[in-house]
Symmetry: C2
Subunit: 232 residues, 2 copies
Amino acid sequence: MPRVPHVEKHFTATENVRDIVIGMSDGLTVPFALAAGLSGAVENTSVIVLAGLAEIAAGSIAMGLGGYLAAKTDAEHFVSEREREVRETIEMPEEEAAEVARVFLDYGLPEHTVGTVVDALRSDQKRWVDFMMKFELGLEEPNPTRARVSALTIALSYIVGGMVPLTPYFIWRSSVHTALVASVIVTLLALLVFGYIKGRFTTPRPWRSAWQTALVGGLAATAAFIIAKLIG
Amino acid sequence: MPRVPHVEKHFTATENVRDIVIGMSDGLTVPFALAAGLSGAVENTSVIVLAGLAEIAAGSIAMGLGGYLAAKTDAEHFVSEREREVRETIEMPEEEAAEVARVFLDYGLPEHTVGTVVDALRSDQKRWVDFMMKFELGLEEPNPTRARVSALTIALSYIVGGMVPLTPYFIWRSSVHTALVASVIVTLLALLVFGYIKGRFTTPRPWRSAWQTALVGGLAATAAFIIAKLIG
């Protein structure tokens, strides 16, 4: 996510908020839908709790560890692209200068101005490479400790989100029906609240985010329920 | 993902490849881990097939529809930020010009050059706004038909990925143990192949991507198996 220089005007979600959103929105949705689906075909809450907890373990590891490795790959990608740009500014400086010039010419800058800009950028190799990394390739330098924090945040958010729809199945162990109804009510409310808060960070219309988030969860649960009913 | 102008030199995953990777990597991992986990606690393949199919339905909808809404939100975010920038170039052109100037001053351009660049950019409002959208805010104009294609690609990839670990449970309906062993072999192979192909697109080290992808799936499945054994 590109960092925005003037925060007071344009919204930017912090990376932690984004990770919580990623983990929690899947955590609230998928275990919810799985539990609701199984409720359509299974008489026994213990199977649902078992499947739900197995799903939370699988999902949190897949998302957290997957996110960790993806962040590590991004960081390496940045380093290798940067090395390539450094090499290119040494081995083929004219081609690289022409690439920078093209960026500015496309924005309608007159040629003599572009020449001055390119010469000024070229005068300092580090800045020249920095400029190309950001404006030509659109790559931001990743924070080195980010991957681990991000993985843990996503995994924990998935677990916290996933426990919401499962809790009723712990409480009403003897009645799948009661647990299902309670799980649907509690989780839809949680999705509304979560969608609203997420929307406050990402859109000017948080209420729409609230009902859309609840809708995705509701549709996923309905689809899982119908499939389980058909084959159960 | 920012588009890269000179594709022949720097890698860029197409958006479709990225969507297939997103859908398939979770599709291969989470239903696999769920089925393996349940195999540790349930005697009956039909419960595993049921839970697996419910999970695939839930996961594909959550990822596909969730991705659709996220892409729509991004598109709206772009439009509203663009409108804001247009307004600002009219209402407070000097502040906006100063922001652009700051970008270039940070890269060490001499002040008189920056003045010429800013004046050239300001001379055409559309280009000026385009420039700020891309270089100051780091936002690319989203493709309007992208959201729907992306949602379908992610959802279908999730379904295709998820059917791989479940297929053995359809074939060996009478033995959870045989189905589990077959599912582990088939899915780890699929994760290796998928991780290798993904790595060919994203890193210079595709073999490492192969074993890392298999490792994430294997760990998620092991964790789900242990949890299901403990409580099952």
